[in-house]
């Protein structure tokens, strides 16, 4: 459970209670008193939290507060300067296919087709070509890219590129998916469609997701929990439980009273 976070109860009883099974499973991701400094400049200190399997946690906060730094530590691109980041009971020492990253600018391989991009992790693992092709087709279907397997990334729209980024990560069947403002450069409609897609994929794969965003709407619509990271230097932050009816991917949830109320609560908290 949350160690340092002050938990803020939802304003009214949840329409659907959060699945209790989630609470009893050992956390898939855990930060223990993590501190980080860039060249001696402290960005965060004493940050602790844990994420249960299948949970979708949104990291919400103003630009520069350290969201990407947290994600990079989970991905293994950065090592904590204090404390420990733990996935599946083991301390994170470097990048690995058990933690997939969806980048803000997609970071696709422009020299590879959509299918080759999607099956990249399989290629690295030495999977044969025919099998890779099959995985690519399956994952393309999962993210709604059927028929684009042989296109190159530069032939796709921004939204489709992020779909490839999503499929490529899903293909390696990660325990944790890390998404760093993946939809912030897209237009509103595409962004909302992809948010719904993420929830649908989460339901289908049971993947744990850490989702970074600076948009309150996005955090409330997507998250099971939201960490509001105003100041990570003290290690204390607010955590909000989101209580919205299933299926979570329903766009109707954007108008649900709980959605609107939580959005307001967070907005006021961010501004105070």
């Amino acid at each position: 459970m949350i160690l340092a976070a002050r938990s803020v109860a939802p304003a009214e009883p949840a329409p659907t209670p959060p699945a209790p099974v989630v609470e009893t499973l050992p956390p898939v991701l855990k930060f223990e008193k993590v501190g980080f400094a860039y060249d001696g400049r402290t960005i965060m200190r004493d940050v602790s939290f844990s994420v249960a399997p299948g949970e979708l946690v949104c990291l919400l906060g103003p630009s520069g507060c350290g969201k990407t730094t947290i994600l990079n530590m989970v991905a293994g691109f950065l090592r904590p300067t204090e404390g420990a980041a733990i996935v599946d009971g083991r301390e994170i020492v470097g990048p690995g296919p058990d933690r997939g990253v969806v980048f803000q600018a997609a970071a696709l391989f422009d020299w590879m087709t959509v299918a080759e991009n999607i099956a990249f992790s399989q290629r690295c693992a030495g999977v044969r070509k025919a099998k890779r092709r099959e995985v690519a087709r399956e994952m393309a279907a999962l993210v709604g890219l059927t028929g684009f397997e042989d296109a190159y990334p530069y032939q796709l729209s921004g939204g489709m590129r992020q779909r490839v980024g999503l499929a490529r990560v899903l293909a390696s069947k990660p325990k944790v998916m890390l998404m760093d403002e993946p939809f912030s450069a897209l237009d509103v409609q595409t962004r909302e469609t992809l948010q719904e897609e993420v929830l649908r994929i989460r339901d289908r794969t049971g993947c744990t997701i850490l989702f970074v965003t600076h948009a309150i709407d996005e955090a409330v619509f997507l998250g099971d929990r939201i960490f509001l990271l105003n100041d990570l230097k003290t290690g204390a932050f607010d955590a909000f439980d989101v209580a919205l009816p299933a299926p979570r991917c329903s766009p109707e949830n954007r108008l649900h009273p709980s959605f609107l109320r939580l959005r307001e609560t967070i907005y006021r908290r961010m501004r105070h």
Partner: protein, 262 residues
């Protein structure tokens, strides 16, 4: 291709063809009006006549095609060898700081030395045969390709490196699937620069004696004031340069098809 793109492409081809023809026209006018002495600037027709003469009867007892073949052989061997080694070293320098440290001073000391300045040394070390000629071109190509390949490696985006690592790529796979393709655009550009330079050095390298090659032909003709033959030889080198450059540009567009389309 859309109709607009096709029209734009056609217009490009027309202008690209008309521009050299216009230069030829002005040249012809200047020569025909007697504005320049034929020794300094012979008319295009006289140069064409010399070319036809060489094509039929050869130059200094050797057929024109033997001259062309000798030059092309030197350039090809030196270009392929220099490019292969230069790209390999440049990629290694881009990936390993230690290798970069080893090669930095030697290559940067060598680079500003004009090839002509090396000729006396090369004669001393390798004689005046093929070895010296080929090595001179080889060295220039190598240095150009090393710089370009290294810069290409640096063009690899941090996100794509991280993406590859987080999808389980090992060091070799990161290099093969991410670094190498990221460096390719710059390598292809480097090849075009290097080919241009190789042809320039060719003429200089054929200063090193011998009786074959376009460089020899030009130098020999100029020492006898056979200006039309000089021009004809220069034109043949120029055309070879144009053809190889177009071929490399075409290959580049097809190999690095994603460049500029992100």
């Amino acid at each position: 291709m859309t109709a607009d793109e096709r029209r734009a492409r056609l217009r490009y081809l027309v202008v690209a063809t008309l521009s050299p023809l216009a230069i030829l026209g002005v040249w012809w006018l200047v020569a025909a009006r007697g504005l320049a002495s034929p020794i300094v600037l012979p008319p295009p027709s006289a140069i064409w006549a010399s070319f036809v003469d060489m094509a039929a009867n050869g130059y200094s007892g050797v057929s024109l095609w033997t001259h062309v073949g000798a030059s092309l052989a030197r350039v090809s061997v030196a270009f392929l060898g220099g490019a292969a080694l230069g790209v390999a070293l440049g990629l290694l320098r881009g990936r390993s700081r230690m290798i970069d440290a080893v090669l930095l001073a030697p290559s940067e000391l060598l680079r500003p030395i004009p090839p002509l300045g090396l000729i006396p040394l090369f004669i001393l070390w390798f004689g005046i045969g093929e070895t010296s000629k080929v090595l001179l071109i080889f060295l220039s190509v190598l240095l150009i390709m090393m710089v370009n390949a290294q810069a290409g490696v640096r063009a690899t985006s941090l996100d794509s490196l991280r993406a590859a690592e987080s999808m389980g790529a090992n060091r070799w796979q990161v290099f093969r699937f991410v670094v190498l393709p990221s460096a390719l655009p710059q390598v292809m550009t480097g090849l075009r620069v290097a080919m241009g330079t190789a042809l320039t050095i060719l003429v200089a390298s054929e200063l090193l004696g011998g009786d074959r090659g376009l460089g020899f032909l030009i130098l020999d003709a100029s020492s006898f004031f056979r200006t039309t033959y000089v021009f004809a030889g220069v034109a043949v080198i120029g055309l070879i340069g144009l053809a190889t450059d177009r071929a490399l540009a075409w290959a580049g567009r097809n190999i690095v098809h994603w460049e500029g389309r992100r």
